[in-house]
C-alpha cells in the first residue's frame, strides 16, 4: 500500500499494512531541526517571512523530504497568500481579521471586524481564491498520489470567533443568537465554495480545524455546540463525503462531552487527542474506535520537547498497541510539531511507527 491508501484505509476503520503516520502541523524550527539529519544547506531557525527566496524554497523542499525520508503518509496543506502585512507586528487576512505575530507559533487573532449585529450588514466577505491553494498544488505535484493530501479548513467556531472576538461571540450567543447564526452562515458559504476548488485540486482529506475545548472541558456547552456549530460543520462534512473525500475533526482539549455530537456530525476521524486533556487512546478506542479513526495522542507538550528518544519509542509502541488493532488509528503527535519539540524525538516517533506499526496478521 502507499501512504494515500494507508490513510484512506485507516479513515475507513480498516487495517492497512502499516499504521499510517501523519504530521498535522509543523513549524519552521522543527522542519530545520529534523531536516538537518537528512539534508544540508538549511538556514538557522527563523520564521518563514524572514527567509529569502532561496531559504524558503529550501525549507519547503525539506518539508517534502521529511515526508519522503521518514515515510509520512499524509501531507498537510493550508491557505497561503491570503494575509497582508499591516506593520512589523501585525498581519491581516482577507476577512479583515488582524493577527498579532508571535515568535512562539502561529499569529493570534486580536482584531475582529464583525463585532456587532449591525456590522454584518456592511461586511463583504471575501471569495475563495484559487491561488491560495498553492501548497496543495505543490504537494500534489511532488507526491503524485503516493501520499494522502490533507487540507486544514477553519471550522465554524474558529472562523466566527476570529471575526467577532471570542468573548463577544459567546456573549452574543445569549444577546443576539440570530447574529451568531448569520456569521456562521456566511463563513460556511465561503468554506463550501472553497471545497469545490479543493476537490478539483486533488484533495483527499478535509480537516475541519475547529478548536473548541481546553484541557478541562469544551469552551461552550453541548447545547450551544448543537445550536451554533454542528449544523454548519455538518454541511461541510456532508459535502466532503458527497465529493468523495474523507473528513476529520481537529480540536484540542477535552472533547468527551461533545464526542457523541461529533460522531453524529459524520466525521471519519478525530485529531489530535491530547493526553493531558483526558483523551486517552485506549478509552477512546473502546468507546468509538469502530466509528471514528483516532489520529494523534503522541504527547507534544512534555514528551516530544523534554523526553528521550527511548521514551518516545515506548509511547509510540503503547499507542499502537492501544489503538491500531483492527485499523482506525493514524499515528500523529498530540497537536503539532511546534518550535519546542526536540527533532531527535520527532525522528524517534517516525522510526518507532515503522518499527511497531506493521500489521500483525
Amino acid at each position: 500500500m502507499n501512504g494515500r491508501e494507508r490513510i484512506k484505509a485507516a479513515l475507513s476503520i480498516q487495517e492497512p499494512d502499516q499504521v499510517p503516520v501523519y504530521i498535522h502541523g509543523i513549524n519552521e524550527a522543527p522542519i530545520i531541526g529534523i531536516g538537518r539529519h537528512i539534508t544540508d544547506g538549511l538556514p538557522d531557525p527563523k520564521e518563514f517571512r524572514e527567509m529569502n527566496d532561496r531559504e524558503k524554497g529550501k525549507l519547503l523542499d525539506t518539508l517534502f523530504l521529511i515526508h519522503e525520508h521518514f515515510g509520512i503518509d499524509g501531507f498537510t496543506s493550508f491557505e497561503i497568500g491570503h494575509e497582508e502585512t499591516v506593520d512589523t507586528e501585525h498581519v491581516a487576512d482577507d476577512w479583515g481579521v488582524i493577527y498579532t505575530r508571535s515568535i512562539h507559533g502561529l499569529p493570534v487573532a486580536t482584531g475582529h471586524p464583525v463585532q456587532n449585529p449591525g456590522d454584518i450588514d456592511h461586511f463583504t466577505p471575501p471569495r475563495p481564491n484559487r491561488n491560495h491553494l498553492l501548497l496543495l498544488d505543490l504537494g500534489r505535484d511532488r507526491f503524485k498520489g503516493e501520499k494522502a493530501l490533507f487540507w486544514l479548513m477553519r471550522g465554524t467556531f474558529v472562523r466566527s470567533w476570529r471575526l467577532m472576538g471570542m468573548e463577544n461571540l459567546m456573549i452574543q450567543m445569549y444577546d443576539h443568537p440570530e447574529f451568531v447564526h448569520r456569521v456562521a452562515r456566511m463563513v460556511t458559504d465561503y468554506s463550501l465554495e472553497q471545497l469545490d476548488m479543493l476537490v478539483d485540486a486533488g484533495l483527499d482529506v478535509l480537516v475541519v480545524e475547529d478548536d473548541i475545548a481546553d484541557k478541562h472541558s469544551p469552551l461552550i456547552s453541548p447545547r450551544q455546540f448543537v445550536e451554533f456549530i454542528k449544523p454548519y460543520n455538518t454541511e461541510l462534512v456532508e459535502k466532503a463525503h458527497r465529493m468523495g473525500l474523507k473528513a476529520v475533526a481537529h480540536s484540542d482539549g477535552n472533547l468527551w462531552p461533545l464526542l457523541d455530537i461529533m460522531i453524529e456530525t459524520g466525521y471519519d476521524g478525530l485529531n489530535p487527542l491530547e493526553p493531558q486533556a483526558g483523551m486517552e487512546l485506549k478509552k477512546l478506542k473502546a468507546y468509538c474506535g469502530d466509528r471514528l479513526c483516532l489520529i494523534g495522542n503522541i504527547d507534544c507538550v512534555d514528551l516530544l520537547p523534554d523526553g528521550t528518544p527511548e521514551e518516545v519509542d515506548e509511547a509510540v509502541r503503547q499507542a499502537i498497541a492501544d489503538a491500531a488493532t483492527g485499523g482506525g488509528y493514524i499515528l500523529c503527535d498530540s497537536n503539532s510539531l511546534h518550535p519546542g519539540v526536540d527533532p531527535l524525538n520527532c525522528i524517534a516517533m517516525f522510526e518507532a511507527a515503522k518499527k511497531y506499526g506493521a500489521r500483525k496478521s
Partner: protein, 210 residues
C-alpha cells in the same frame, strides 16, 4: 436577606439589567455596600464558579455572570472607595511575555473579581518588569501568571527570579496557571501556588492571603 439572594441568583444567571436594578434598590433601602458585595455579587459569582468547575456551565455562562457582577460592582464601587471598605487584597494578573492568549487569564480575572479581590489586569505579552512595577504601584499581595504555550511557560521562571531579586520579594506571592502548567512545574520554579482552573485560582489566592 431576600433581595441579596435575588442579586446572587441574577448574577449566576447572567441577568445584568436585573442586577443593576436590584443593587440600586438595595442602596435606596440603605443596605450596606459590603453586604451587597459579599452576599449578593460575590455569592453569585461563587455559585457560578462551582458550577463551572463541575462542568455544569461553560465559558459563555461565566462571561454572562461576570458581566452581571460588574454591572452591580460599577454602581457600588464609588461608595466602596468613599467608605474605605477594605478589599480582600490586590492581585496583578497577566499573560507572560511572548504569549498573546487572553481568554483563560480573563476568566481567572472574573473569578477573582467575583471573589471580592481588586484585580489589576496588565494584559498579554507582559514582561517581568511590568508585573513587578504593577505590584509595587498597587501594593499587590499576589502576582498571577498565565501561559497557554509550553514555549512561553518557561518565562514564568524568569518572572519568579526577578520577583525574588526585587524590592517586593517576601511581600508578594506568585501563582501560576494555564494549559501546559502543572503543580510539578510550579514547584520547580518556586511558585507559591498553582491552580488547574479558574475557580482553583480564586481558592489558592484566598488561601494565600485570605
Amino acid at each position: 436577606m431576600e433581595i441579596l439572594r435575588e442579586i446572587a441568583a441574577h448574577v449566576e444567571n447572567g441577568k445584568n439589567n436585573e442586577v443593576r436594578l436590584l443593587v440600586g434598590k438595595c442602596l435606596e433601602e440603605g443596605i450596606g455596600v459590603s453586604d451587597i458585595l459579599n452576599n449578593g455579587l460575590v455569592a453569585g459569582m461563587s455559585s457560578i464558579g462551582i458550577r463551572f468547575r463541575n462542568n455544569e456551565v461553560f465559558v459563555p455562562e461565566v462571561l454572562m455572570a461576570a458581566r452581571a457582577m460588574k454591572s452591580g460592582l460599577e454602581i457600588i464601587k464609588p461608595i466602596l472607595l468613599q467608605e474605605k471598605v477594605p478589599t480582600k487584597g490586590t492581585i496583578i494578573i497577566g499573560t507572560v511575555l511572548g504569549d498573546l492568549h487572553d481568554i483563560g487569564k480573563n476568566i481567572v480575572c472574573y473569578m477573582l473579581q467575583g471573589a471580592g479581590f481588586d484585580v489589576i489586569d496588565i494584559g498579554i505579552d507582559a514582561p517581568k518588569e511590568k508585573f513587578i512595577e504593577a505590584a509595587q504601584n498597587h501594593g499587590a499581595q499576589v502576582i498571577a501568571l498565565s501561559s497557554l504555550l509550553s514555549t512561553t511557560m518557561s518565562y514564568m521562571k524568569e518572572v519568579m527570579e526577578a520577583v525574588r531579586a526585587s524590592e517586593i520579594a517576601g511581600t508578594v506571592k506568585v501563582i501560576v496557571g494555564g494549559a501546559p502548567v502543572t503543580q510539578a512545574f510550579a514547584d520547580e520554579i518556586g511558585a507559591h501556588g498553582y491552580a488547574s482552573d479558574a475557580s482553583g485560582a480564586s481558592e489558592i489566592v484566598k488561601r494565600l492571603i485570605g
